[in-house]
């Protein structure tokens, strides 16, 4: 499909598209997610581990596989492409940026991490 070829960078180019679509929120909507990097790491790490395990299982079972021409070609144990690990970082970052962007605009909406007594619980 298409005449532009990204070759082995195809997978990471798609992740670049995702990041292009969301990183500007940090500036324009003052989401302040990267300034809270320890909290960001704590949110990303457990999901990354669980989904990497799922990924390794699915690859071993043959549920899905990757075109070797379109990925970086660097594999972690369990035949897990490095590209997939980057996916499990990029997508959570995009999700948290989106949540905080919505909160930036809708500052009266409760998210659940407000100091006690402000959550209506």
């Amino acid at each position: 499909m298409g005449s532009v070829s990204f070759g082995q960078y195809s997978y990471v180019a798609i992740l670049g598209f995702v990041l292009l679509g969301c990183l500007w929120l940090e500036v324009a909507l003052r989401t302040r997610v990267f300034r809270r990097w320890r909290r960001l790491l704590l949110a990303i790490a457990p999901a990354l581990v669980l989904f990497a395990i799922w990924d390794v299982y699915a690859i071993a079972q043959g549920h899905w596989w990757f075109d070797p021409e379109l990925i970086l070609g660097i594999h972690l144990p369990g035949e897990l492409p490095l590209d997939e690990v980057l996916f499990f970082i990029a997508i959570p970052v995009a999700s948290i940026l989106t949540l905080e962007a919505v909160r930036s605009v809708k500052s009266h909406w409760r998210v659940g991490d407000e100091p006690l007594g402000e959550d209506g619980q």
Partner: protein, 133 residues
């Protein structure tokens, strides 16, 4: 287990984690569903690129739809696929996104970098003011 079974199971498991383990209750909040509505659009585009360009291919034994063709894109819509990608991918993505957001809120509630809070957008002077053009 098939991808279909794991995908459905992951959505159920993460909703239970959100409601009763982390007690973040994101699935009861407007802020989550508004965020997910925005993410959903980009999820379709991103899944569509991964699958339409053939970066990732699927075994018909493990999904509702057929095995990805060796050459060319799979069906755009139908046969268990939405925007080229198996519907299972939407469930996989939903579970990943909900778990991540619930953990983010969980750590904030625990007092891990609750501040600096988000906002206001650059076009507003302070959180409580209206839109300043």
């Amino acid at each position: 287990m098939t991808y279909t079974q794991l995908a459905v199971g992951s959505v159920v498991a993460v909703v239970l984690i959100d409601l009763w383990i982390l007690r973040t209750r994101m699935v009861t909040r407007a802020v989550f569903w508004t965020s997910y509505a925005i993410i959903f659009f980009f999820q379709l585009v991103t899944n569509g690129m991964f699958t339409g360009f053939g970066v990732v291919k699927y075994d018909g034994e493990s999904i509702i739809g057929e095995t990805s063709p060796a050459v060319g894109p799979p069906p755009f819509l139908g046969e268990g696929r939405i925007a080229y990608a198996p519907v299972e991918d939407l469930m996989f993505g939903f579970a990943l996104i909900l778990l991540t957001i619930a953990l983010w809120v969980f750590w904030g509630r625990r007092g891990v970098q609750r501040t600096p809070v988000a906002g206001p957008p650059v076009w507003r002077r302070s959180p409580d003011e209206g839109i300043q053009v």
